[in-house]
């Protein structure tokens, strides 16, 4: 009991308190508490920074894009799998779509790079034989978001579909029989029975993913970044890392990070409240 509680206090709550650093001028020798207060200086610095608008825009753009694409795909996959009667085929599809989830971020990014490489990548080789010009995919800021989002879908749809499949398996079979008697076809059954059956699980997962919006795939984005695509790929968390740890600008980076966490919290509470109103499902 005591070690885990100590863990949460030390590694989760002490950092929260340490976040007062955002309102101080950090001095290595004096430490967090000895450093002088500077009020909201660093927040003002952030809001006046011309890069700030781009950071916010990129962060929100990437997260909403991945939410819009990434959220429905596992649901559709689960619905489709649920219609399949051939157990062997169903199992194969499930096993295969699930597998990429185990690939690490580093490996995933290097796969993307190998596939999209302008000289040697298979995508450009195929495009070349079809008569298209080679594209430096990762060097195009306009393509960055799609590459990020769709590779994510590729990697995680099978994993995310599991919860929905479980929810579908839990639907009362008598509902299907009733629908059959009423003369519903398969598509109508899917819309009128399966979809409502998935709703509670879907709402919870939606809330959780909104809560993660500002924390969106830092590791992967950081690895995919290069000077050419930076205008579309620099997000708040990568900026915090560079400012804070690489440039040792602790106070400023803490202010940016704190701002990020606060937006996140507000978003989460909002969506949770909305979900409670609309569908009676919520996290608490």
């Amino acid at each position: 009991m005591i070690p885990p509680v100590a863990y949460f206090i030390i590694f989760k709550y002490v950092p929260m308190v340490n976040a007062v650093l955002a309102f101080k001028d950090y001095n290595v020798i004096k430490g967090i508490w000895g450093s002088p207060w500077v009020g909201t200086k660093y927040f003002e610095l952030l809001f006046q920074n011309p890069a700030f608008a781009t950071l916010i825009k990129n962060t929100l753009y990437i997260s909403f894009y991945s939410l819009v694409v990434g959220f429905p795909v596992p649901i559709l996959l689960a619905l489709a799998l649920n219609e399949v009667k051939n157990a062997k085929f169903k199992k194969t599809v499930q096993m295969v779509t699930y597998a990429p989830y185990f690939i690490s971020t580093v490996v995933m990014v290097s796969i993307i790079m190998l596939f999209l490489s302008p000289r040697l990548g298979i995508v450009n080789t195929i495009a070349g034989t079809l008569g298209f010009e080679a594209v430096n995919f990762l060097g195009e800021p306009g393509l960055f978001r799609s590459i990020y989002v769709f590779s994510d879908v590729w990697q995680s749809m099978g994993y995310s579909a599991v919860i929905y499949l479980a929810a579908l398996a839990g639907i009362d079979p008598s509902l299907y029989e009733a629908a059959k008697v009423d003369g519903a076809n398969r598509f109508q059954k899917m819309v009128n029975i399966d979809l409502p059956g998935l709703l509670p699980a879907a709402v919870i997962i939606l809330i959780l993913s909104v809560g993660n919006i500002m924390a969106v795939g830092f590791e992967k984005i950081y690895l995919l970044q290069n000077p050419l695509n930076l205008s579309a790929s620099e997000i708040i968390s990568t900026y915090v890392y560079k400012m804070g740890l690489l440039n040792a600008n602790y106070s400023f980076a803490t202010a940016v990070g704190l701002f990020n966490s606060l937006i996140n919290l507000v978003l989460l509470l909002t969506v949770n409240a909305a979900a409670k109103r609309l569908s009676n499902t919520s996290l608490w």
Partner: protein, 308 residues
């Protein structure tokens, strides 16, 4: 769960006794078509990577490989195995994965079990105390400073401790304990004069084998695949886990230059091939146990999704 599935299964067979209408058959055909496309889209890159890793360097770089290996050779793997950095990274990762998993699972169970007991005073405040960390965090820099002030920077502990407990795993474990270990057991043990410690070791842990397996697998996969903590906390190369070494080889492409042209082309082709072999090697431990892992992962997700 299995009961539900078999119910659903019987419903399916009942349905099929009535002849499907034309519209339904078209619908099903479309679904099979879509799923086949999905299957190929997910499978193809995986096959391509494995095939490339087994092909000759020249075939890989000239784009001759598209499905099956061309000029089969194990050269890629041989040169990976000759790379001291990779071997060291492998050893380090094995260490971090083993020790890290033990620490994480132990800590998770230590907190999840009390949380599952209805008699435990302060259960819901403690739960809130934990789940709040999912909603709000101090951020990267303040956490870094804590780790630094504890003197963990550039030690192996930095990868084992600061991220040892995942709240989600605590919730999964708590739900499991709540649903599968009856309250009466601990009452009976109390009456028999069994101490709490003894109760945990001789009653709870044997019953908790499935959840220990689930937690271990999830933590182990997480630890094996992690790189970011190592990136920020470690400076000494000899402590680097495999993922960090992979990053420098695969993504930053730190290969040695200054050779004559013919040699360089060869070197470059070899470097390309090595990337494919490395990808396979790095994913191997997880993929080898994958069929086994998958079952438990699904189980873990399902336990976690039951509302507690």
């Amino acid at each position: 769960m299995s009961k539900l599935q078999s119910q659903a299964g019987s419903a399916v067979s009942q349905r099929s006794t009535i002849r499907e209408s034309f519209g339904d058959r078209v619908f099903i055909a479309i679904i099979y078509l879509i799923l086949t496309v999905v299957l190929i889209a997910v499978l193809y890159p995986l096959i391509y990577i494995v095939s490339s890793s087994l092909s000759s360097p020249a075939a890989v770089t000239s784009g001759k490989v598209w499905l099956w290996p061309v000029d089969m050779t194990l050269d890629g793997y041989k040169s990976v195995l000759r790379n001291d950095q990779v071997i060291m990274g492998y050893a380090n990762s094995l260490f971090y994965t083993t020790i890290g998993t033990i620490i994480s699972v132990a800590l998770t169970i230590m907190i999840a079990y009390p949380l599952s007991k209805k008699t435990f005073v302060g259960r819901s405040p403690l739960m809130m105390f934990i789940t709040f960390t999912m909603l709000f965090s101090g951020g990267l820099i303040p956490t870094y400073l804590v780790v630094k002030s504890m003197g963990l920077i550039d030690t192996r502990w930095a990868l084992l401790i600061p991220n040892a407990i995942w709240v989600w795993q605590v919730i999964i474990a708590r739900t499991f304990f709540q649903n599968s270990i009856p309250e009466e057991l601990s009452e009976a043990a109390d009456i028999d004069g069994c101490s709490d410690i003894r109760f945990i070791f001789s009653v709870i842990l044997p019953l908790a084998k499935p959840i220990v397996a689930v937690l271990s697998l999830m933590y182990a996969v997480g630890q094996w695949n992690a790189y970011f903590d190592a990136l920020i906390y470690l400076k000494t190369q000899s402590l680097y886990p495999l993922q960090l070494i992979l990053r420098s080889i695969l993504i930053l492409s730190n290969s040695t230059g200054n050779m004559d042209v013919g040699e360089m082309v060869k070197q470059q082709q070899m470097a390309e091939l090595m990337k494919f072999s490395l990808i396979v090697m790095a994913s191997l431990p997880v993929l080898v146990i994958y069929p086994f892992v998958q079952r438990y992962f699904v189980q873990g997700m399902l336990i976690g999704s039951v509302k507690g």
